[in-house]
């Protein structure tokens, strides 16, 4: 899943370890989420959302296009 985590933490001048401390997870976990190799649980996604004061869908993008496929 694509996300804005890297940009958001850079805006606060945080390293991955700094963000990990805020979220109580390891730097590896932050790295894995940023690179899209691991999708966070819903509780962790909410924690991230509260930390950056942004709605979840502004941080994470599941690339859902609204289901508007051509079904003809």
């Amino acid at each position: 899943m694509k996300n804005q985590l890297k940009v958001l933490r850079a805006m606060r001048n945080w390293s991955q370890a700094d963000l990990g401390e805020h979220l109580d997870v390891s730097r590896q976990a932050v790295n894995a989420i940023e690179t899209g190799k691991y999708d966070p649980s819903l509780p962790l996604a909410f924690k991230i959302s509260r930390l950056f004061e942004l709605p979840i869908e502004e941080i994470f993008d599941d690339e859902f296009d609204g289901g508007q496929h051509d079904r003809s």
Binding site: K6, S15, Q16, A17, V25, S26, R27, N31, I33
Partner: protein, 228 residues
């Protein structure tokens, strides 16, 4: 909102990445050193059993090769540790706790392994080198009780705290995936081996080998999922 682009955000985390490759080489090299040291101990024990005395040119050459392997592996560890230090990786509180647990388990396991290997060389099996891992010669009841207590009481309690305090959800997920892979491998592999043995096509199933393959696969998948 911002003019920051991902391309301009190269920081120490970028250099560190997951550090998985370095950690993998450190683990492989460490295991290599332990196994080579076991081979040296076995070689010397065998030499002693055959009357001892001077090792001779061939013996010195063999030990020289073993020493070169150990030095090469130690160099690989040093190089990878330096590489990790160069990335200035900062550990979070959880990671420090996790690392301390792993070191504690590693040292305890290493100490137990070394004691058992020396015990086996001195009193038990004729196995040498890496084969010592599969040694199953009898040990004294006191040693058996101490090891069983460590495995059945200390390990579960420590692991419970480890899972609660040291690891995070990403690592827990890696463990779960490792569990799935190894459980399916066990459920499929063990009966297959058993059937082949009944048909006279394979040696008798060995519980220790099955256990080690199970643990190895679990660890490999955990590592891949955590550090890829």
């Amino acid at each position: 909102m911002t003019n920051l682009t991902e391309a301009s955000m190269i920081d120490r985390d970028e250099i560190a990445g997951s550090n998985g490759r370095s950690i993998m080489w450190i683990i492989i090299s460490s295991l290599g050193i332990v196994m080579t040291a076991g081979a040296v101990a076995g070689y010397l024990a065998e030499h002693e059993a055959q009357g001892g005395g001077s090792l001779g040119t061939a013996g010195m050459l063999t030990l020289g090769v073993f020493a070169a392997i150990i030095i090469g592996l130690a160099f690989a560890i040093w190089r990878n540790v330096r590489k990790m230090k160069a990335s200035n990786e900062v550990l979070t509180r959880r990671e420090k706790l996790n690392r301390n647990y792993v070191w504690g388990f590693g040292l305890a396991g290493g100490a137990i392994g070394l004691c058992l290997a020396f015990y086996d060389i001195r009193f038990g099996t004729s196995a040498t080198g890496p084969a010592l891992i599969l040694a199953d010669s009898p040990v004294s009841p006191v040693i058996a009780l101490i090891l069983a207590f460590f495995w059945a009481v200390i390990m579960p309690v420590t692991l419970w705290f480890w899972h609660k305090r040291a690891i995070d959800e990403q690592e827990a997920s890696a463990y779960r995936d490792g569990g799935y892979y190894s459980a399916y491998a066990f459920l499929i592999g063990a009966p297959t081996w058993w059937m082949l043995w009944r048909g006279g096509l394979a040696p008798e199933p060995d519980g220790v080998v099955i256990f080690m393959l199970f643990a190895l696969l679990w660890s490999a998948v955990w590592f891949w999922k955590k550090y890829r």
